[in-house]
């Protein structure tokens, strides 16, 4: 890599960030997040419609499929703001996973059918890989596809209760590989499951010979999982960066307004050093997010390293920021009434969403061993 000096978002992207932040401040206040947490809805329907109207779901979908054909840098900017707002919408499932899977291995017919509707947000897609506890691998997949029909159970599937279709990872018909199948979920047996973060719904999907169409080559799906996760990791990392910053802002604001022993607790070194350490981790995560964003946008060979670097840093920063935010709030931070819980919940959900911290630490070293370094 040439060491150079144009490592910044463009003025247009900074403008997009400001617009997105302003929009979400108005349309996605924490009262909206709380409404989903406490209520019956699986997601914020009106917000999702507005997001579709704004074209965010269309960002990187090519114009030939009804998208905007913008860059992944633009999408990173939007991800950061959705993360900051703890938005209760199926954006990551539909955009980072389902749309990306179609762009990677979808057939022309699949792309023509789904991408235009994913772009407008009128259709929600998701990605079904997990089948219970532990790290998924081609060897432990029990969901099968035989003669274009999928059978088996996936749990938990993000937004599985509201999605129109799922990209399902199955064990391959022969050998020990994996395959991708697209399954329309109408008629599929699905059950909403309770999770740590009810502001992002999950479901158990039971397929009983569901009609499915193959995506990509039969048996070569695990390579696609790796690629898909590397790409999605950058976008998840930007959500984590946004969330980490929200946690720091929340903690700082509270510490400045909360008095003890006759002065704001923000003046105590125990609090100052705690939040300075949050700032340090957030800064490292943001800078590594730039690296990931650059690699994703330019399709750089360094993507496996850049994605893992951004992802590990993002996961660590968000966990640290969200737990220390509660700590800074003291007892009030532990109450249902306060908003600290939203960030703490979301930080862990994002951390396990596409592979845990230790999984990505391992992937990072593997990528470096393979010489994909800059």
């Amino acid at each position: 890599m040439v060491v150079g000096v144009n490592f910044e978002f463009s003025d247009e992207q900074n403008l997009l960030r400001d617009q997105a932040r302003g929009f979400l401040q108005d349309e996605c206040p924490t009262t909206l997040v709380r409404g989903i947490l406490d209520g019956e809805d699986s997601y914020a329907r009106e917000l999702w419609e507005r997001i579709g109207q704004m074209g965010w779901t269309a960002t990187v979908i090519p114009e030939t499929y009804g998208g905007l054909g913008a860059t992944y840098l633009d999408l990173c900017v939007i991800s950061e703001e959705l993360g900051r707002a703890i938005a209760p919408v199926p954006f990551s499932s539909s955009v980072y996973l389902a749309s990306e899977a179609l762009l990677l291995v979808g057939t022309e017919a699949q792309k023509e059918k789904w991408l235009p509707k994913l772009a407008t947000g009128e259709v929600i897609g998701t990605f079904a890989i997990g089948e219970g506890s532990g790290r998924p691998s081609p060897a432990n997949l029990s969901v099968k596809a035989v003669n274009g029909k999928v059978t088996g159970t996936k749990i938990p599937v993000p937004d599985g209760d509201i999605a129109d279709f799922a990209v399902v990872v199955t064990s391959s018909e022969s050998g020990d590989g994996a395959s991708f199948y697209l399954v329309e979920l109408e008629g599929t047996e699905r059950e909403t499951v309770a999770t740590l973060d009810p502001t992002r719904s999950h479901a158990k999907l039971t397929f009983n010979g569901a009609e499915a169409s193959l995506m990509g080559a039969e048996g070569e799906g695990w390579t696609t999982v790796e690629t898909l996760f590397n790409r999605a990791a950058v976008l998840y990392a930007w959500e984590q960066v946004g969330g980490s910053e929200a946690a720091l802002d929340q903690a700082k604001e509270y510490a400045l307004g909360r008095y003890a022993f006759g002065r704001p607790i923000a003046g105590f070194q125990a609090i100052k050093h705690k939040l300075a350490n949050v700032y340090v981790k957030n800064t490292l995560a943001r800078s590594n997010g730039y690296y990931g964003a650059w690699a994703l946008t330019t399709d750089a060979p360094e993507l496996p390293i850049a994605a893992a670097t951004a992802r590990v840093s993002g996961t660590q920063a968000y966990y640290f920021a969200s737990k220390e935010n509660i700590q800074t709030h003291g007892g009030m931070g532990f109450t249902w009434e306060f908003d600290c819980q939203f960030l703490y919940r979301r930080s862990k959900l994002l951390s396990v969403a596409i592979g845990s911290e230790s999984w990505w630490q391992d992937k990072l070293i593997t990528a470096i061993e393979r010489g994909q370094a800059a």
Binding site: M1, K252, G267, Q269, A276, T283, L284, N288, Y290, A308
Partner: protein, 403 residues
């Protein structure tokens, strides 16, 4: 977003590269010279060709280069193992202070020999009673005719034993509040009454010193700023005491530990296959990458002509602990032989032991970890300063302890 220079920057980089390729001293040329002689040789060569202190105005020995050109130069120079380091305080801290506060005559007289490496300067700030609380320093300055008479002691003065000049903050009035009674001077280190005593460090080296002042006379013309304005002048110096952007080179870093973990076995398998080892390496990689890309962000700001944000100030804080932890971890990987610090028998001449013993200094020098966190909390996050019990109290009435 990309990693490419602008055409002007690329042209500058090429020019710098070409000059460096042709002029970096060969090992033979440096044979028999000590570290200071080597540094002076290289610095003079740069100066004569217009590559010394390139950001400075030409009339003071510089090149009128831009901030981003300075970064590019630092990057290119750091690709070579060139001698240096002894000029850092003079060129990096004393010179900017002189530029801001000295008379034109003194600038013309003192800055070019700083740029050429003829003169080495040191910084006489810290005292036994004034470390993190620098403004608590006690060394006295009393006016006597056109001179000031200095009595007291400085400590942690890097390079004082080979310095020609020093910058000095002293107490000119103990009856006013702490920050208001300070005055700032520069002085000839060969002045009568200056005594330098090296301090041996836990790492075995002796890079810094105690400096004693006994009736040392400094002409009033060598005062920088007004009487009582010393703190403000000192802030000019301290603002320049931050990690330079874009440099390179670290002794114990990810690459070295990664290679070690491939070579060393745990239970007859390469250590790199161990999950715990991988997790630690990954974290260090992320920290190094995060610092590197934070630097790139600052460079991008410079390239656009903007002032970099505060993000670069995390560098020393993150880097110092990382170095310490990596050295400790490497020694663990080596098991008992990790304790060897022997140029013949130890792993890579005992670099891990040396780093392990040197690292605590990195966490203290130039603002301890705790001070760095205070700075981040106060200047970046806007959190309040600590309560100061000595605020507004005349200095000579502030309570003192026994350590």
């Amino acid at each position: 977003m990309d990693f490419n220079d602008t055409p002007e920057e690329a042209a500058f980089r090429d020019e710098a590269k070409q000059w460096l390729d042709a002029n970096v001293p060969a090992p033979d040329e440096l044979k028999g010279l000590d570290e200071i002689e080597r540094s002076k040789l290289w610095q003079k060569r740069k100066y004569d060709a217009g590559w010394a202190c390139i950001r400075w105005p030409k009339e003071y020995g510089g090149r009128d280069a831009s901030a981003i050109e300075q970064v590019i130069w630092n990057q290119e120079e750091s690709r070579f193992n060139v001698p240096g380091g002894v000029f850092g305080i003079g060129q990096g801290m004393a010179a900017p202070t002189m530029m801001a506060w000295a008379s034109e005559d003194d600038k013309v007289k003192h800055l070019p020999p700083l740029a050429s490496g003829e003169h080495i300067w040191c910084q006489l700030f810290s005292e036994p009673a004034g470390g993190s609380d620098l403004a608590a320093l006690r060394t006295r300055a009393e006016k006597d005719g056109d001179d000031w008479v200095i009595n007291g002691q400085k400590i942690w003065t890097s390079g004082a034993h080979f310095s020609d000049y020093g910058i000095l903050v002293v107490r000119s009035d103990p009856t006013v509040a702490k920050h208001k009674g300070l005055t700032y001077f520069f002085l000839d280190m060969k002045s009568p009454g200056v005594e330098v005593k090296p301090i041996k460090q836990i790492s075995g080296g002796a890079n810094f010193n105690e400096v004693y002042f006994t009736d040392v006379r400094i002409p009033d013309s060598q005062r920088l700023g007004a009487v009582g304005q010393g703190w403000q002048v000192a802030l000019t110096t301290l603002m320049n005491e931050r990690a330079a952007i874009g440099g390179g080179g670290m002794g114990v870093g990810f690459d070295r530990i990664f290679e070690l973990a491939k070579r060393i076995n745990i239970d007859d398998r390469p250590a790199i296959e161990d999950r715990q080892v991988r997790a630690k390496l990954a974290d260090w990689y992320c920290q190094e990458a995060g610092l590197r890309f934070t630097g790139y962000r600052s460079m991008s700001a410079l390239s656009r002509g903007d002032t970099p944000g505060p993000e670069n100030s995390i560098g020393k804080y993150v880097g110092a602990s990382k170095t310490q932890d990596m050295a400790s971890f490497a020694m663990d990987l080596l098991e008992l032989s990790g304790a060897l610090w022997d140029s013949e028998h130890g792993e890579e001449s005992g670099i891990y032991a040396a780093t392990y013993m040197g690292a605590p200094g990195g966490r203290i020098a130039g603002g301890s970890d705790e001070i760095m966190l205070n700075i981040l909390a106060e200047r970046v996050l806007g959190m309040p300063q600590d309560v100061r019990l000595d605020k507004g109290i005349p200095f000579n009435e502030i309570p003192t302890g026994s350590n």
